[in-house]
């Protein structure tokens, strides 16, 4: 029996949001791939309800949970740039000897890339499905967001509670009417609805959502 739930995570380090805010389904799929040690096989057995009518999993995007004492704080996180260019192939072109290799910053000191981090007491996901199974899977991963391998977005599981307000609607849908209308204004975008597939016109919540917890 699928139940609607709110998953509350305690946030310890700032989350650096990617362009598309992480969703519960992508986080669970990542955990499932960790469990199977297979990052190529398609994931079809998430413990979330698939909404056939709307064409997506009933799992929300990340929502920042704030309290009366602690709000949502923006932090500037500066990290050394990762070297994404390997110019060795370029060095051999046209028989021109290479003297310097350009890495962002300089040859000796990598530049610090500035990221926008978000820190709040809690990070929440809403979903509909099997909360116990979701908890088991989420216990396999400890970070969320960009630069997760460098300690950003570290979380621990705080609580799972029933959610009567259909919070799982806070994710991209094909129609603007499928959103919870009083919490935010849906933004048009072009994203894929599931874990695989092609991008299509959707309406999504703003990247940064916050909710006051008692």
């Amino acid at each position: 029996m699928a139940t609607a739930f709110q998953l509350r995570l305690r946030l310890h380090t700032p989350v650096i949001l990617p362009v598309v805010t992480p969703r519960l389904e992508t986080l669970l799929a990542e955990a499932l791939r960790h469990q199977r040690l297979d990052w190529t096989a398609p994931v079809n057995d998430l413990p979330l309800t698939w909404d056939d009518q709307r064409g997506g999993y009933r799992g929300s995007q990340a929502v920042f949970g704030i309290t009366a004492q602690h709000g949502l704080v923006g932090q500037v996180v500066k990290l050394p740039s990762s070297v994404t260019r390997l110019p060795a192939h370029a060095a051999t072109r046209r028989n021109k000897p290479i003297k310097n290799i350009k890495i962002d910053g300089s040859g000796t000191a990598p530049k610090l890339t500035t990221h926008h981090g978000y820190l709040s007491p809690y990070l929440m996901f809403y979903g509909e499905g099997d909360p116990e199974e979701c908890l088991k899977l989420l216990s396999l991963i400890h970070h969320v967001g960009k630069e997760h391998a460098r300690g950003q977005g570290f979380f621990t599981i705080e609580a799972v509670e029933p959610d009567p307000d259909e919070g799982w609607r806070m994710r991209p849908w094909r129609s603007a009417k499928d959103h919870v209308s009083d919490r935010y204004h849906a933004i048009p975008d072009t994203l894929r609805m599931g874990l695989t597939g092609t991008d299509e016109p959707v309406y999504r919540p703003p990247r940064v959502l916050k909710e006051v917890l008692a």
């Binding site: 704080v73 994404t84 260019r85 110019p87 060095a91 290479i98 310097n100 940064v208």
Partner: protein, 279 residues
Amino acid sequence: MNRGYALLHQATKGFRAPAKMDTYTPTTVSCACCQRAWEEVEEPGLAMEYQYSAGYAFESVCTTCYTPRLASTDMLGVEKLARGGKPVGGKLGMLAGSGGVITPSGELHLALPQGWIDKFQGGELGRQGRLHRCGAMALLLKLQGAGALADSHQGFVFVENWGRKADTLMGQWRASFSLSEVWCLSDQGAEPLDLAAMIDVARLVHAEWLAKKAVTPAFWRPIVQAAQGRRHDASLQKWTEGLDDPMTLLAALPVDPHSRMRLTPVMRELIPLIEEGAL
């Protein structure tokens, strides 16, 4: 993500005159600037060679990412006369301090100071009336008011500052789909801004006769400090006491704390527009 690059490619066709495009088939996996695979870029399998400076490695970049480095006397106009009187065209990547907007239909509009408008008036963009003497944000709102950004699913591109570092600008190039989340592109990277909320805030402070105060950092300090994690309850209390309707203003503020940190500079752009009656 590709939509932003597609719009730039469509808007800058005139910059890529065939004679200037010394393309070759790349041997790398992806464009060195935008990291897109060669089959994903607008002109698949065609690369331009880029070298930071003499002695540095050669990099293969896609034709879209190379566009801000291309000089065009036809499109932009004559930037300067080289030795011997040879005209050198203007480049998009050299318009430091200026911005621009690409509309959903793929039209490039530039926000320039008067000196550059005079200089580039003879170019194709100048003749078509796409050079505007205003700030980048004012240009965006002017085009929005004229209905040029109406087709929201097609997206638009907002360049806050063309800057001097074309590789950083092009590496994070992306389209925006709503005024509630405008990606401000510059040579420092891409940053989202809730412009719709900012306009609401500007209207509210103007209605409360606080327009002069709201363009100073001192007015927004309690809000900005709270967004930075340095909340000072006494200052916030004093701030709310100075307003007629503080709850409405607090509710109108953007949710994103990084947008709140930009309140002063954005108000400096928006409040004059409200005073002129343009918003």
